[in-house]
Every structure is written in structure tokens, then in C-alpha cells.
């Protein structure tokens, strides 16, 4: 399941990166590696998923609630074949990639499509995602089939995602 998620995502993201002439870093990650989230990455993710619902989850190794929530995403990935999940490490202070990878591995998400903020001026990354966002994590953005977004601050209850995914299935009919 995790590999399925990875394969379905990595190619569109790389293609989108090439199409948009974004920094090399985006296309340089191979499956299982961390993608560098830089300026333009949010646009690339949005472009790559156009027409398909996706859950983008922002988390951090310094975030206590995230340690509770991350394993839940792994369980949901196994439960719902229609869940496309992108995780973005968005610690308020840039973190050690090793620590990020370790936490992804410990929570079962190492094989998902994982990104990590990589800009010392983190405000501008957040601004591209949501101009009002001041960096609180966990934060989850649900991007619908129609491109509409729903932002959820704090730990998300799995039932919220299940209901949203069911709604996306209905929207496709």
C-alpha cells in the first residue's frame, strides 16, 4: 500500500517539477527519500494532483500531538485504497533530515510521499500554502477533486478523513 502510494505520486510530481522548471531539488528525490519542499513545491503538489483528491499533512518531530497522529495515517493508508497522502515536515525550525526519516520510519510512513521544508526563510513557504498560517502543527489540508481545500488545525480524527473520502467518491460520480 505504501509503495503504491509512492509510485502513484512520485512520477507526477517529477513531471510537474520539470514542466514548471522548478528547482532541481524537487525532482532529485527517489522513492523512499525526502523531497525538499522549497518555493514552488506547493504549486507542484497542487499541479500533480489536479483532478484527484489528496490529503497533505504537515507535521514536525518537535510536535507532541504529531507523534500520536502519524501512526493513524499509516493505518488509514492500509485501510483506504483511495487515500492519497502527502506528508510535509514543517517544523518551525528546520530540522535534521535524519530525525525526520527516523520518525517517518517509526510511524510506518517511510514509504509515503514525504517532503521536508528546506528554506531558512520558512515564512515564505507557509505563505504559499496559506497566508494566514503561522506555523502551527499538526495541520492537514484536504484538497478535493475540484481543487477546493479544507484546512484542519490539530490532530484529525480518522472518521473525518473517511467521511471526506466518501464524499470525494460521490463527487466523482
Amino acid at each position: 500500500m505504501k509503495r503504491r502510494t509512492m509510485r502513484r505520486w512520485i512520477l507526477p510530481v517529477i513531471l510537474a517539477a520539470a514542466a514548471l522548471a522548478l528547482p532541481d531539488a524537487i525532482g532529485s528525490a527517489s522513492p523512499g527519500e525526502l523531497h525538499e519542499f522549497v518555493r514552488g513545491s506547493w504549486k507542484a503538489i497542487r499541479h500533480a494532483q489536479a483532478g484527484r483528491p489528496v490529503v497533505v499533512h504537515f507535521w514536525g518531530v518537535t510536535c507532541g500531538p504529531c507523534q500520536v497522529e502519524m501512526p493513524r495515517w499509516d493505518k488509514l493508508l492500509h485501510e483506504r485504497a483511495d487515500l492519497e497522502l502527502v506528508t510535509v515536515n514543517a517544523d518551525l525550525v528546520p530540522d535534521d533530515p535524519g530525525a525526520v526519516s527516523n520518525m517517518l520510519a517509526e510511524t510506518g510512513l517511510a514509504g509515503a510521499e514525504n517532503w521536508m521544508f528546506n528554506d531558512g526563510f520558512v515564512e515564505r513557504l507557509r505563505f504559499e500554502i496559506d497566508p494566514q498560517w503561522q506555523g502551527e502543527i499538526p495541520l492537514t489540508v484536504l484538497i478535493g477533486r475540484d481543487g477546493g481545500t479544507t484546512t484542519i488545525e490539530g490532530v484529525v480524527e480518522p472518521d473525518v478523513i473517511r467521511t471526506w473520502l466518501d464524499g470525494q467518491v460521490q463527487a466523482s460520480k
Binding site: A99, V122, E123
Partner: protein, 413 residues
């Protein structure tokens, strides 16, 4: 570099007191300005040029002192010329430490009337981000600092310390302390947040008394604000956790040095969240006794940066007033009263540049001047802080591109 900084300053009410520090290495700034590598930033020396957090304090003789953190070292230096040049830096901790780099953490500095310099800072002591707060002092005019000592014997976790001198010069310290977490776990009880701990020094910072908690279950990740209503009577503003889930702001006022008063809520913002906001309040207790508070919230009732005051010792607060332009993401507000003028500063961001805006009130927070943008930068920056030499209010701001600057704030009453 100086020309570039001057070119960025805006507004006729501002007088620039300093350019980036000449004692540092300007070339490293230029290199840094092109380095957006985040955690892999090349600037890795303990110099002021590499500092991410810089905290100012003026001594009674008008000397500006800075404490900053860079490359795991807390350093202190002073300037006799308004921040143009600095003395050689003195390392508070000669061996690099994993200093607390939380967004609201920073080294603290205070100077008493006899010239003793007090410094406090926190470290991460493990991979779970448990912290430990240390304090030290210099009794020789900043030439050397005593070995940093833990501020409490408790071994659990402490972060977000604040130090201040009361009107009689007594050293007060407060911090967020998880000492009650382990006992709660032993009882199989959920523990929320952290306690607000405090202590005093009765020997001018040579030691501190064993600490106690003023209140438990406050938010664990935000800075504190401290003021005094009189000798031995601190006022502490903090982000509390109301009802186990709502992270709104409160104050406590001490009846005497060892008797904290009740928790008094500043505003019902209803920020029901389990995230760490990493944005604590700023408090100024005016000479007339009014409590002035500014804070950030993302609550159900209101979102953004707000200001309110209390004219009855914290029992009631005025309706919160929104600060800044909503579309420019206002953040990191800070308050300071200087000779009856109440200054408020904050950051805004438009997607490209960060600006620092100030406004001033001459009627104890009832009305305010028009906001003035006084500085800006195109890369990452520290929180804007206000400090005073007892006569003038200054903006103290560290930016990655331009380095440290101290800006005198002038206004027309």
C-alpha cells in the same frame, strides 16, 4: 551594507542608531544572503553575525548589552555607541550546547543598578525536547560569567524562562516546568501542558531559592511576559490551557514575593487546539499600574494579533483590539512603556518581505498613533523586541541579511 540597511528603513519618525555590527564579519552576511539552505546554513560560528536570537538590555549607565545564541554558544557583548561597535564577545557557556531553538525561546539578559549582569537560557537535554534552564551572572562588568547552574533541582523539564528585576533590584525568574508530569503519569492521569514555576534570588543572583509552581497546566511552548506592580509583586502574562483544551491568555499578580494570585483571563479567544502555538504574549505594566498585553491567537472568536489592557489589576480587560493588516500575517507583537509613551511593535509578511511596524500611545493605551513601518528584510529574522535606556524606546532586531540593528523610535506627542 550600511547603505543597504539605511535604504530599507522607512518613516520620518525613525532615527537609526546603528548599522550592522562592524566588529562582525560583513562578508559572511553577503554569503548568507544567498544561502537559503535552512538547517544546513553555512553560518556556524558563535558571532553576532550568525546569531538567530539576540536579546538586548541597557545598563543604568546607558551601555547597551546583548545576549545572543549562535553555534550552541550564548555570548554577551556590550556597546558604548548605540550598537555601532561592540566589545569582544564573552561566552557564557564555553562548550557548545544544544540550545533551545524553539521559536519563542531566546537567551535572557538583565542588569541591575550595580552593574551585575544576569543571563538565563535553556537547552534541550534529550531527543524528546525536554529542556533544562540555566542561569548565571557576571559580577565583574561582563568580563567573565560564573559557571551556569540549573535554575531548579527538578530533573523533569524546563523551558521558556524569563528573568526580571523588581523595582528594588531583586532578581525574579519564571519558567515553564513539567515537574508534575511524572507524578501524573504514575497516577495514570493525563498531564496537560506545563506548570508556571518561579523563584527569587536574595543574594543578587549568586543563587536562587528552591522554586515552586504558581499555576499548573499552562501552555508549554510559549514565552512569558513579566512586569511589576511594586517591589516583590510580579505580574506574569502567559498562555494558559483553560478546560484542558483552550489555549488562551492569562495573567497572575503576586500579592507578595511568594504568593501568586489567581489566574485572570485576558480574553476569551476560544483557541481550542492541541497544537503548540509557539507564540506567547508581551506584557507592559505601566507606571500608573495599567496592564498592557498583546498576543496572537487563532481562536474561534478571533484570529490574529490583539491588544488589551486592564486598569483594575487584571480583574477585567478591555475588549481586544486587532493589530496589523490581516492580509499581511501580523505576528510577534511586543510592548514597552517609556516615560509615559506606550510602544507596540510587530512583524508583518507579504510573501516576500518581512516588515516591522510600530505605533505609540500617549494616553495609556486608549488611542494610538498611525502605524509606521520602521524596518524590513527579505530573509529570515528574529522577533522584533523593544528596549530602553530609560529615556528612549529602541527597536532591537536581528535579521539574517542585515545583522543586528538598534533603531531609536521617535514620535511627536
Amino acid at each position: 551594507m550600511r547603505r543597504e540597511l539605511l535604504g530599507r528603513l522607512i518613516g520620518t519618525v525613525v532615527v537609526v542608531m546603528s548599522a550592522p555590527v562592524t566588529a562582525q564579519t560583513p562578508t559572511s552576511h553577503a554569503q548568507m544572503s544567498h544561502d537559503h539552505g535552512g538547517a544546513t546554513s553555512a553560518c556556524n560560528s558563535p558571532t553576532l553575525a550568525c546569531a538567530t536570537k539576540v536579546t538586548p538590555a541597557f545598563a543604568a549607565d546607558g551601555t547597551l548589552w546583548l545576549a545572543w545564541m549562535a553555534a550552541g554558544i550564548v555570548s554577551v557583548a556590550h556597546s558604548q555607541d548605540g550598537g555601532r561597535t561592540f566589545s569582544p564577545a564573552v561566552a557564557v557557556n564555553p562548550t557548545p550546547l544544544d540550545l533551545d531553538w524553539g521559536p519563542d525561546a531566546r537567551p535572557k539578559i538583565a542588569i541591575d543598578g550595580d552593574g551585575r549582569i544576569f543571563v538565563a537560557f535553556a537547552i534541550f537535554k534529550d531527543k524528546a525536547f525536554n529542556g533544562e534552564v540555566f542561569y548565571t551572572r557576571s559580577a565583574d562588568g561582563g568580563h567573565s560569567f560564573e559557571p551556569p547552574r540549573p535554575i531548579t533541582t527538578n530533573q523533569e523539564s524546563q523551558r521558556f524562562e524569563a528573568i526580571a528585576l523588581d523595582p528594588n533590584g531583586a532578581l525574579f525568574a519564571a519558567w515553564l516546568d513539567k515537574r508534575n508530569r511524572a507524578p501524573a503519569k504514575e497516577r495514570n492521569e493525563k498531564y496537560v501542558g506545563a506548570g508556571l514555576a518561579f523563584t527569587w534570588s536574595d543574594d543578587h543572583g549568586a543563587g536562587v531559592a528552591e522554586s515552586t509552581l504558581a499555576v499548573d497546566n499552562t501552555c508549554e511552548c510559549c514565552r512569558l511576559g513579566i512586569g511589576f506592580v511594586g517591589p516583590g509583586q510580579p505580574v506574569v502574562a502567559f498562555r494558559n490551557v483553560f478546560g484542558g483544551t483552550v489555549r488562551d491568555h492569562a495573567v497572575i499578580t503576586f500579592a507578595d514575593p511568594h504568593t501568586p494570585g489567581p489566574v485572570q483571563r485576558i480574553s476569551v479567544d476560544d483557541w481550542k487546539t492541541d497544537v503548540c502555538p509557539h507564540q506567547g504574549p508581551s506584557l507592559a505594566v505601566a507606571s500608573g499600574g495599567t496592564y498592557h498585553v498583546t498576543w496572537f491567537t487563532n481562536g474561534n472568536v478571533r484570529k490574529g494579533v490583539f491588544y488589551a489592557n486592564s486598569r483594575d489589576g487584571g480583574r477585567t480587560f478591555s475588549d481586544p483590539v486587532a493589530i496589523g493588516q490581516p492580509g499581511r500575517n501580523p505576528s510577534r507583537p511586543f510592548l514597552l512603556e517609556v516615560r509615559g509613551a506606550l510602544w507596540l511593535t510587530w512583524k508583518e509578511f507579504d510573501g516576500e518581505d518581512t516588515t516591522v511596524t510600530t505605533m505609540v500611545s500617549h494616553d495609556d493605551g486608549r488611542t494610538w498613533s498611525a502605524p509606521k513601518t520602521v524596518a524590513q528584510t527579505a530573509d529570515t529574522s528574529d522577533h522584533p523586541l523593544l528596549t530602553t535606556d530609560g529615556k528612549t524606546a529602541y527597536l532591537s532586531w536581528q535579521t539574517k541579511n542585515e545583522g543586528y540593528h538598534l533603531i531609536a523610535l521617535r514620535d511627536v506627542p
